[in-house]
């Protein structure tokens, strides 16, 4: 008789998700656009929906997102991704549709589009990258720029007397009737990244269940335009951004509660 001995075997416990093409990205070192891409790709893999997903890319640093996601994709004019996603989803309700948008894209030039898409309860998912700045164009002030924050167009710091206060988009969208799931998470450390992934998964499940519009706002680092090293940028998210942009679920409509309890 043979006694089974414990033989150790090497297993891959983490590898690039199939939904993310194996190409280098153009993002700066430490830019968490890369983390956000990876999380979305992991969720698409885990839900087994890669083959029927269409991503809509923004104008902004993520303009080439359609080249990075291994899904179908297209590129919208600045801020218009929600309008394009609306059209795609209505024509092809069998597809999973998401927009990936920055804060200049979603919270400035495209505010109208996102508000009305959410109000109508369009059945797509929005991944909203809040890095408190216009990254692509050289670090100008965004609607999300914090009070006192230095940017290339607010060299003395954002003056709320003239520029007003930063807009909390997750809370705004959560107030709209068609929004089924709206959450804010952060990408500044491993623990928060894991929570962000769970929220992204919930958002896609809300779409699959046809419950309404879903959006996850992600606090994201722009080390280049913040003039910080990547570790400094992560600390700045935690110490400056999170206090102004609280993390949590802002809208959990009927039917979504059950999805939250799933793993």
């Amino acid at each position: 008789m043979m006694v089974a001995e414990t033989v150790l075997e090497e297993q891959v416990v983490y590898a690039r998700p199939a939904s993310l093409r194996d190409v280098p990205t153009h993002y700066c070192p430490g830019c968490t656009h890369g983390v956000a891409h990876r999380l979305v790709a992991e969720v698409l893999d885990e839900l087994g929906i890669r083959e029927r997903t269409i991503g809509v890319s923004p104008v902004g640093c993520a303009v080439f997102a359609y080249k990075y996601f291994n899904t179908d994709g297209c590129e919208a004019a600045h801020g218009r991704a929600p309008a394009m996603a609306t059209g795609i989803k209505r024509v092809r309700p069998d597809m999973v549709v998401f927009t990936y948008q920055g804060d200049g894209d979603l919270a400035a030039i495209g505010t109208g589009e996102i508000i009305h898409a959410a109000t109508r309860g369009e059945l797509f998912t929005t991944i909203f990258i809040n890095n408190a700045i216009y990254g692509m164009t050289g670090g100008q002030m965004a609607p999300t720029t914090l009070p006192g924050q230095y940017t290339s167009s607010s060299p003395a710091g954002r003056d709320v007397e003239t520029a007003g206060f930063p807009i909390r988009m997750a809370e705004v969208i959560a107030g709209l009737p068609g929004a089924a799931y709206v959450a804010r998470r952060s990408l500044h450390n491993v623990k928060e990244i894991m929570k962000a992934k769970k929220a992204i998964r919930t958002a896609f499940k809300v779409q699959l269940a046809g419950l309404g519009f879903s959006m996850v706002e992600l606090l994201s680092a722009c080390p280049t335009n913040w003039s910080m090293s990547p570790p400094e940028a992560m600390r700045w998210i935690e110490e400056a951004m999170v206090p102004y942009y609280p993390l949590g679920d802002f809208k959990v409509a009927e039917g979504v509660e059950a999805l939250l309890k799933e793993r």
Partner: protein, 84 residues
């Protein structure tokens, strides 16, 4: 404690250092002598004492998906052995 190891794709690494901060075992260090083809000093896995546990926290932190993580797990009993 589980044993593991990682592979880092140096060509995609941008030297951001975030994996070195995420690793609880301190077995990732930044290169200081050889820049990558892109001109960054890449992260390197240096684990002479086999301290890596394959926890994958480094891979979760990496914005450029450079890290593949392996872990030693007990192999399933082989069918021919089970038949005896």
């Amino acid at each position: 404690m589980a044993r593991g190891r990682i592979e880092i794709n140096e060509d995609n690494c941008k030297g951001c250092t975030l994996c070195t901060i995420a690793c609880p075992q301190g077995v990732i260090v930044m290169a200081t002598d050889h820049p990558s083809a892109k001109g960054y000093y890449p992260a390197m896995f240096v684990d002479p004492e086999g301290q890596c546990t394959g926890c994958a926290l480094c891979a979760v932190a990496c914005p450029d998906v450079c890290i593949t993580v392996y872990r030693q797990v007990p192999a399933k009993t082989r069918p021919q052995e089970a038949a005896v």
